[in-house]
């Protein structure tokens, strides 16, 4: 696109008269092109000058000060497309899931799956309370006798054990899942085993089945290979 065509689009966009698809493209460019931005700013100054408005500026401080202040604000992420904010991955929308050919269903099944990734299976066996982890189940008895012998760096596992309890509310599950994208510990899976109880999952799955439509055999075959 030569400059004339570009500036003509800029002028139309300034007047709100550029079709939406072209606006999307030009908006992208405008955000990062300082020369284009300056021209856009001069279009605004032209209009203000014609209307004999007070305080018409060409290189005013206001726009620059706002720009600096906005630069210092945290990153903004709205909507369904994840983006990078600093070192963090974008927020994971609690999404609406849809059968590949069907109506939208609630996200609880998805939340359950994500929770499992984050939190562990609800069916995990409960180990007996014990003061030192080394004496617990076989999978953790990876011989580390030096640990028991040392002083300052040995740690005590709290003896209390969370038994099965009432499942915490589903809305909390959604928040925890949304947060999990941002939790940075090595152990990204916080144990929410009591949150994802078998009953809660099958309730939501039933609701999902009632709300969604069944898929055809062709669809199932087409999707048998997930690497499409």
């Amino acid at each position: 696109m030569n400059n004339d065509e570009l500036y003509s689009q800029l002028s139309a966009m300034f007047d709100g008269e550029l079709p939406a698809p072209e606006c999307e493209l030009l908006a992208r460019r405008l955000g990062r092109d300082d020369l284009l931005k300056a021209r856009w700013g001069r279009y605004a100054a032209i209009g203000a000058a014609m209307r004999l408005e007070r305080g018409v500026r060409l290189h005013g401080q206001l726009a620059r000060r706002v720009s600096s202040a906005v630069a210092a604000e945290p990153a903004m992420l709205v909507g369904s497309s994840p983006a990078i904010a600093g070192r963090l991955a974008g927020p994971r929308l609690i999404r609406w899931w849809q059968p590949v050919a069907g109506a939208a269903v609630a996200a609880s099944v998805a939340a359950a799956a994500i929770l499992w990734l984050r939190a562990g299976s609800p069916d995990a066996p409960i180990i007996a309370a014990s003061p030192m982890i080394a004496s617990a189940s076989a999978s953790t008895s990876a011989a580390d006798t030096s640990d028991a012998a040392t002083g300052s760096d040995s740690y005590v596992v709290p003896p209390s054990v969370e038994g099965p309890s009432a499942a915490p509310p589903t809305e909390l599950a959604d928040f925890v899942v949304a947060h999990s994208e941002f939790s940075m510990p090595l152990l990204r899976r916080s144990a929410l085993t009591s949150l994802v109880s078998s009953e809660a999952v099958s309730d939501s799955a039933d609701a999902a089945r009632r709300a969604g439509s069944t898929r055809s055999d062709e669809d199932r075959k087409a999707n048998a290979d997930p690497t499409h």
Partner: protein
């Protein structure tokens, strides 16, 4: 850093072995960086236990980097049969107990196993990082790296890092009193030069399964116009992300703010108004995740984070809303 070919991986391991061991001895941050590099760039196949709140789950993780593409598979070995398979930016969640497969696109995918952030000058104001003793775990020489919080607003870590490969063989999340809140312990781990594609096929048949993929939220929720921020924060915490999301339980957009001290993150969710289904109130501990729910200016506020309970409560009670224009 993406490792494209096997020979490069071997070169990387050789480098680690001959150079890094001595050089890292006095620099705990370098050990953590090595660990992050290893988690991101090596091929590994291991079995580990995740221990939290008295429960244990055993899983297998397989991770491969080949020609710039990352492929991962995380399988539960405890009977549920659930698995996650990630190929590049596509994540498949197999839920045999639900006879469902979820298909997700992740433009910015994150490791299934997770890693720690870089520690820098700002972080060391609130965390002490030191290199501690060397021990043997599952027959491997490891170095213990300790991350101690300097106050009671955050948790700490103990990481046993394999001196040869950089992989974290055991990781513990601890509170200020040295109590272990959660841990991941490898029972076995291999770092093969190559992993065949067959290793990443799901271990179950999906015949008759329902396939779900994500779509944009239906409907147009209305904004409240309020915007919230924290009047006070625990030392070292600053805002990192401000976003708005659609959530199935809440009506309207939910404001989502993330505060971080560089290591720990806390999310604050503000809903646009009270609604009938809202039952949350007060503190609730979910494993290593602390949550606190309250109502501020008629808005349900829920705070979630891998931090001690008093931290989420502090932040929740510091939130203040700015009313909409008019």
């Amino acid at each position: 850093m993406r490792i494209r070919r096997t020979s490069e991986q071997l070169a990387w391991l050789a480098f680690v072995l001959t150079v890094a061991t001595a050089a890292c001895a006095d620099e705990p941050q370098k050990w953590l960086e090595r660990m992050n590099q290893a988690l991101m760039t090596l091929n590994y196949d291991g079995v580990f236990s995740h221990i939290q709140g008295g429960r244990v789950e055993t899983l297998r993780i397989i991770h491969r980097v080949q020609d710039g593409t990352v492929t991962e598979r995380l399988v539960s070995l405890d009977g549920s049969g659930r698995e996650f398979i990630r190929t590049g930016s596509q994540l498949l969640c197999y839920l045999p107990d639900e006879r469902t497969v979820l298909v997700e696109r992740q433009p910015q995918p994150s490791l299934l196993l997770g890693s720690l952030p870089r520690f820098d000058a700002a972080t060391s104001e609130f965390y002490d990082i030191r290199s501690s003793r060397r021990t043997r775990l599952i027959g491997r020489k490891t170095r213990l790296i300790v991350v101690d919080p300097k106050d009671d607003y955050r948790y700490g870590y103990r990481l046993w890092i394999d001196e040869q490969t950089g992989m974290p063989l055991r990781t513990q999340l601890c509170d200020g009193k040295g109590r272990v809140i959660e841990q991941v312990v490898f029972a076995s781990i291999a770092t093969p030069a190559a992993i065949p594609d067959a290793a990443f096929k799901p271990g179950l048949s999906t015949a008759g399964f329902r396939w779900l993929r994500e779509v944009a939220a239906p409907g147009r929720p209305s904004p409240s116009g309020y915007s919230f921020s924290a009047l006070r924060l625990p030392p070292g915490f600053h805002i990192s992300v401000r976003a708005a999301q659609v959530m199935p339980g809440a009506t309207g957009l939910v404001e989502h703010l993330v505060y971080t001290d560089g290591v720990a993150s806390v999310s604050v969710f503000v809903e646009s108004h009270m609604h009938a289904g809202h039952t949350l109130s007060g503190s609730l501990q979910l494993g290593s995740t602390s949550t606190f729910a309250t109502v501020i200016d008629g808005h349900p506020v829920t705070v979630v984070g891998e931090v001690p309970p008093q931290t989420v409560k502090f932040i929740a009670n510091s939130m203040k809303g700015q009313p909409p224009p008019r």
